[in-house]
């Protein structure tokens, strides 16, 4: 191929990627930037990039009467526990689905993931009624169960795919080496599953962390999560832009940082089996 022929697709690619990057990053950068602006600058008609930064919005979020702390802790606890359960159960179920020889296995796997296909709006009313009978409204457990109902099928499906990519020879070699089934899983399979576990955990955590619909419906005064706190700033008397942008930053940043930290595993996990 000549250089000029190669040059055109390259330019096209770079342009496309730049546009995509601008489209994705500008709103986030603007949000983070604006969360450090004084109110007068945020609402100024001419957008300003240079200003004297202030932490007043963050300070007011954590100090005023309605502090963000309980919301943050609720979010961390509910998303964390539901993720942990989804990953542990998903790992075991995925291993079973991948390894055990049973008739109609692919139908079972499809049925499991099909429960994830229903839109949140379709399950929210039935779940609400169910939770009311089970006294799960306004409890941490209620929200954890709600997130699990969506995250567990997803985790099982994802982990099954990861296990399918791991040659069974390795477990068999371990068993010939004298390992029990559990030891083979513990010493050989699990360490090799780190990319899969991290990928699954992050995706499950993001779903629970970002959710608004379930939290809005099932949570009460003691179990509200951060997205609810953000929504409360949209009041009839006006929008507190400064605080809202600060909350937005608090919601987005941990996920972005976590994503960057485990980027290597995330890419490896999501592309596992793509190239063989």
């Amino acid at each position: 191929m000549t250089t000029s022929k190669r040059w055109i697709p390259l330019t096209f690619k770079v342009t496309l990627l730049t546009l995509l990057l601008v489209w994705t990053l500008i709103p986030i950068i603007w949000m983070v930037l604006s969360s450090f602006k004084p109110n007068s600058v945020i609402t100024a008609n001419t957008p300003r990039v240079f200003f004297t930064p202030t932490l007043e919005h963050y300070a007011s979020l954590f100090s005023s009467g309605n502090s963000l702390w309980p919301y943050l802790l609720n979010s961390l606890f509910i998303a964390g526990v539901s993720t942990l359960i989804a990953v542990v159960l998903g790992c075991m179920a995925g291993f079973g689905l991948s390894r055990i020889r049973i008739r109609g296995k692919q139908h079972l796997a499809f049925w499991i993931i099909s429960t994830r296909m229903a839109p949140i709006a379709a399950v929210i009313v039935p779940l609400y009624l169910l939770f009311r009978y089970l006294y799960l409204l306004d409890t941490h457990a209620g929200l954890i169960v709600a997130y699990l109902s969506f995250n567990l099928p997803f985790a099982i499906w994802l982990m099954t795919a990861f296990f399918d990519d791991l040659p069974p020879d390795l477990e068999e070699a371990a068993m010939i080496d004298g390992a029990t089934k559990f030891q083979a899983f513990r010493y050989v399979v699990l360490p090799l599953m780190t990319p899969g576990l991290v990928t699954t955990a992050i995706l499950c955590f993001i779903f629970a962390w970002n959710d608004y619909a379930f939290a809005q419906t099932f949570s009460g005064p003691s179990t509200q999560t951060i997205p609810i706190a953000a929504a409360q700033l949209l009041t009839q008397t006006g929008i507190d832009w400064g605080k809202l942008l600060a909350i937005g930053t608090i919601v987005v940043c941990p996920m972005a940082i976590a994503g960057l930290l485990v980027k290597r595993w995330l890419v490896q996990g999501l592309t596992l089996g793509a190239v063989k």
Binding site: L170, A173, I176, G178
Partner: protein
């Protein structure tokens, strides 16, 4: 010290029988090779011995003790996989010592045993590396080392050399044969490569469609194949086959009609009568270029290998392969005459069964162990 016995082993996968009743006896310190085309059930049989598959029926016995219900961990065997199956997250040393770690052997003792095995396989400089930093041949050696460290009663090999290039395969083949001599262990080896089978085995088990076709020493299989399948499978290039008509048959030999005249093959002609159709089999290396020979053929293809030359000959409607020495000056389209010694020929009945030779080949019963160099 270990013997293995298989009694009428059957394996059924969801209604399909893949092993249809296999009987086998492996003696102590014997090197047994299972060979056969892909899908013949040889790997399944090995996996059943290892305990990775259960037998649907029949007994698997090690040293006379039935082990069907014993798990792979407790069978005390070691297996080398086709894919090597090295643990990617462990160093070479940890890979080799994994079985000892599971058996709760102390670290110092573990290291000592791993080092001893590493010394045999020249793996000492690689002990700290991860499998991904090793070449194919090195990985293979680590897999064998892992088996040695386990100190098993029987070594199982599942096509261990099939992922290596030709040169390395030859080298590893020699190393494995040497290792068998050094360790003096019972080994069972699965391959589809008949050269590996011929060069390493004390005893070859030829399998087809889940059944044993023949069990015997490499020379027995080569000189006295019991049927047409074994005759065609063992030996490279493949044996030539030609349908022939019987002129006369007795216990002292069978005369068959060939294009250049009759030929008397020294086999027992029981159950054969004149004008029956049999299949004559003759190996390419037993055909000779001979200006006085009774058979003629036109050269279609010539493969010059240096030391030997393979001539593909068209003879009427059939094609023959003839292996001559490397200095053959013939060219494609040349007409050549050739012959063979009747003692080298085989005759097969319509169902493929071979007629028994009157004389057994002198090398058939030679014990490979006597040939093996004793470690000094």
């Amino acid at each position: 010290m270990a013997t293995l016995q298989l009694n009428n082993i059957i394996k059924d996968f969801g209604g399909t029988q893949v092993i249809k009743g296999v009987d086998l006896e492996v003696k102590d310190r014997e090197f047994v090779v299972f060979v056969g085309p892909s899908g013949c059930g040889k790997s399944t049989l090995l996996r059943m011995i290892a305990g990775l598959e259960s037998a649907t029926a029949g007994d698997i016995k090690v040293d006379g003790k039935r082990i069907n219900e014993v798990g792979p961990a407790e069978r005390g065997l070691a297996m080398v996989f086709q894919s090597y199956a090295l643990y990617p997250h462990m160093s070479v040393e940890d890979n080799m010592g994994f079985s000892l770690r599971l058996a709760k052997v102390k670290k110092a003792e573990r290291r000592e045993k791993v080092l001893a095995a590493a010394r045999i396989l020249q793996l000492e400089p690689l002990l700290d590396r991860k499998p991904r930093a090793l070449s194919g041949g090195q990985r293979q050696r680590v897999a064998i080392g892992r088996a040695i460290v386990r100190n098993p009663s029987i070594f199982l090999f599942d096509e261990p050399l099939s992922n290596l290039d030709t040169a390395l395969r030859v080298q590893m083949r020699i190393e494995l044969a040497r290792l068998h001599g050094e360790l003096d262990a019972t080994m069972i080896y699965v391959t589809h490569d008949q050269i590996e089978a011929m060069t390493m085995a004390d005893k070859i088990v030829v399998l087809q469609d889940g059944l044993v076709e023949q069990i015997g020493s490499p020379m027995a299989l080569y000189h006295h194949p019991c049927n047409r399948f074994v005759a065609g499978f063992i030996g490279s290039p493949k044996m030539n086959f030609l349908d022939v008509e019987v002129r006369e048959a007795s216990r002292e030999g069978v005369s068959v009609a060939l294009p250049g005249g009759d030929c008397r093959v020294p086999v027992m002609g029981d159950g054969v009568s004149a004008s029956d159709t049999l299949t004559l089999g003759i190996r390419p290396e037993h055909l000779k270029l001979d200006d006085e020979g009774p058979l003629t053929g036109k050269i279609v293809v010539i493969e010059r290998l240096g030391g030997a030359t393979s001539l593909y000959l068209e003879h009427g409607s059939s094609e023959w392969i003839l292996v001559a020495d490397g200095d053959v000056a013939h060219r494609v389209h040349d007409q050549v005459r050739f012959s063979f010694a009747p003692t080298c020929a085989h005759l097969f009945k319509g169902d493929g069964e071979a007629l028994t030779h009157l004389h057994r080949h002198p090398l058939v019963d030679i014990d490979r162990q006597e040939n093996r160099a004793k470690p000094t």
